[in-house]
């Protein structure tokens, strides 16, 4: 689209600079570009490094219209349930295996200005650089991470154990009741693979959601933060939490000093130490313990002679039963 970028009148980074292809196109990345693969030790090192991508969600530009939810449902052909109105705008009321992204609405009165602020955050997979879901997953290849940062669920390999739920610091994955597989935002890996941005980002009317290389997104975020500061949001900033190695879905927040007010966005998300221990130490120590136990037994079995019953002892038993005299119990015993 030539027009709108001329004469210094730049518009926001465009997720879709061209319309999707309708002729068959080969995916730009695939199996060969995996940098992590769940429950897989010797994963061949990727031959190339893809440019890291990111989705930037500018909460200050978001009007909470739910176009992202709508586009997500349509692109992924999911069928979320129609619920009831329970006195809130957040519908469905939570992420589900059929609803990968969700606008969460918070009415917050700013204590400094006493003004109401309607905080609307698009919730969904953050595509952590160090994904807890992947760390927790026991099924080889059920969760993969491409070198561009996309964390994808490969449903064919998923066993539905729900470990990813325990591993995720953001409470994102959901298990389908229909097919017992875990579902979440894929960052539209199928679209990105043919050069298109995610469906949600493309649809976003105010371009509060934009998609591009992580570097560009950080640069754009910097501009947005500057604009917000000029409008009196002193603590505006970029949410790209280091605790999970940074994320490939980032937020621009007007109040970056307290992410918690945006529907409990974690202050400092990290993979839970419990999960770390479970997937780390426990595994090794446990296996060692079981091993030692087995080995110990074998060694004892080899060196100590078996504990056999002697002829004499059989005779004693017979004598006892026949009523013949037998050795008495040692003294001090009943």
């Amino acid at each position: 689209m030539s027009g709108s970028n001329t004469a210094g009148m730049v518009d926001s980074p465009r997720t879709a600079v061209s319309n999707p292809p309708v002729q068959p196109v080969a995916a730009h990345f695939g199996e060969a570009d995996l940098c992590r693969r769940s429950a897989t030790r010797d994963l061949p090192a990727p031959q190339r490094q893809l440019t890291p991508v990111a989705k930037l969600i500018d909460v200050s530009k978001c009007i909470g219209c739910k176009a992202c939810q709508s586009a997500c449902i349509e692109w992924n052909d999911t069928h979320p349930e129609m619920e009831h109105n329970v006195g809130q705008y957040t519908n469905p009321h939570d992420l589900t295996a059929e609803m990968y992204t969700l606008m969460r609405f918070t009415e917050w009165v700013n204590p400094e200005t006493d003004n109401l602020e309607w905080l609307i955050r698009k919730d969904g997979c953050m595509h952590c650089d160090d994904p807890g879901c992947l760390k927790a997953c026991p099924a080889p290849g059920a969760i993969v991470q491409y070198t561009n940062g996309i964390v994808d669920f490969i449903h064919e390999n998923c066993i539905g154990c729900g470990y990813c739920i325990k591993g995720c610091p953001f409470n994102i994955p959901r298990i389908s009741r229909a097919d017992h597989r875990a579902y979440k935002c894929t960052l539209c890996s199928d679209r990105v693979a043919v050069g298109q941005g995610p469906a949600c980002a493309k649809s976003c009317p105010t371009q509060a959601i934009v998609f591009g290389t992580k570097e560009d997104m950080k640069r754009h975020a910097a501009e947005r933060v500057a604009d917000l500061k000029s409008r009196g949001f002193a603590n505006a900033g970029l949410y790209d939490p280091a605790g999970v190695g940074g994320t490939h879905v980032m937020y621009v927040l007007h109040h970056n000093d307290r992410p918690g007010i945006y529907a409990d966005l974690p202050e400092n998300p990290r993979i839970s130490p419990l999960v770390q221990t479970w997937k780390g130490m426990t595994k090794y120590v446990g296996l060692a313990a079981m091993g030692l136990m087995a080995v110990g037994s074998v060694i004892h079995g080899v060196f100590a002679k078996p504990n056999r019953v002697s002829e004499e002892e059989e005779r004693h038993a017979e004598d006892l039963v026949e009523g013949r005299p037998v050795p008495p119990p040692p003294p001090g015993q009943p």
Binding site: V25, E31, E74, D179, S189, S203
Partner: protein, 199 residues
């Protein structure tokens, strides 16, 4: 149709978890292992794209309709996806929550398919042919016009009003449809003729 989709719909059909798990036992897993770690095939491949305009509000966002089959070639065509037109100056490819779900408006289960008549006092619609419906309409309208047409007012002035039948015109039809509708309605002398602009 990509594997995962066909798989998921199959699972929906299968429903219960038991069936699902047994699929694994039947070696379904292995069958799909091949495609497993690849990203989902792009679903718009081999579709027909058509430039259209969102039917809802007056921003008139450009949309692209993706269909299987091509009506321009006289084929039956089914809409499978709708996306914003990235070339459109106003929406730049973006869409609102309504526009993004246009497909399900077009394919709504409550889309009308056949002419229906509800007879006086009846509690149901009955399906009729187009000819029956249109002849009936023409007859009802002509009879009412002939009976109630006001050719002249009290002062004998030609006023040619038909006030006893009114019409509300659509708000999402094309200008061309509107012009055809205008000609017929005003030609018949209908004065109770209005449209959504009033609301």
């Amino acid at each position: 149709m990509n594997v995962q989709l066909s798989r998921r719909s199959l699972l929906k059909a299968a429903g219960a978890g038991v069936v699902v798990t047994s699929l694994g036992a039947l070696g379904f897993e292995a069958a799909e292992a091949a495609v497993a770690a690849h990203v989902r095939p792009f679903k718009l491949a081999n579709t027909t794209e058509t430039r259209n305009t969102c039917t809802y509000c007056s921003v008139a966002c450009g949309v692209i309709l993706y269909s299987r089959g091509d009506v321009r070639k006289g084929e039956r065509a089914e809409l499978i996806h709708v996306e914003g037109d990235a070339d459109h100056p106003t929406n730049l490819g973006t869409l609102c929550p309504k526009g993004a779900a246009l497909k399900d408006f077009v394919r709504a289960p409550t889309r009308l398919q056949y002419p229906m008549i509800r007879r006086p006092g009846s509690d149901r619609f009955e399906r009729v042919s187009w000819d029956v419906a249109l002849d009936r309409i023409a007859r009802l309208m002509k009879d009412d016009r002939d009976r109630n047409f006001i050719a002249r007012n009290a002062d004998g002035l030609a006023v040619n009003r038909w006030t006893s039948t009114g019409m509300l015109a659509a708000s999402a039809t094309t200008n061309e449809t509107a012009w055809a509708t205008f000609k017929v309605a005003k030609g018949l002398g209908i004065v109770g003729f209005d449209n959504q602009a009033r609301v």
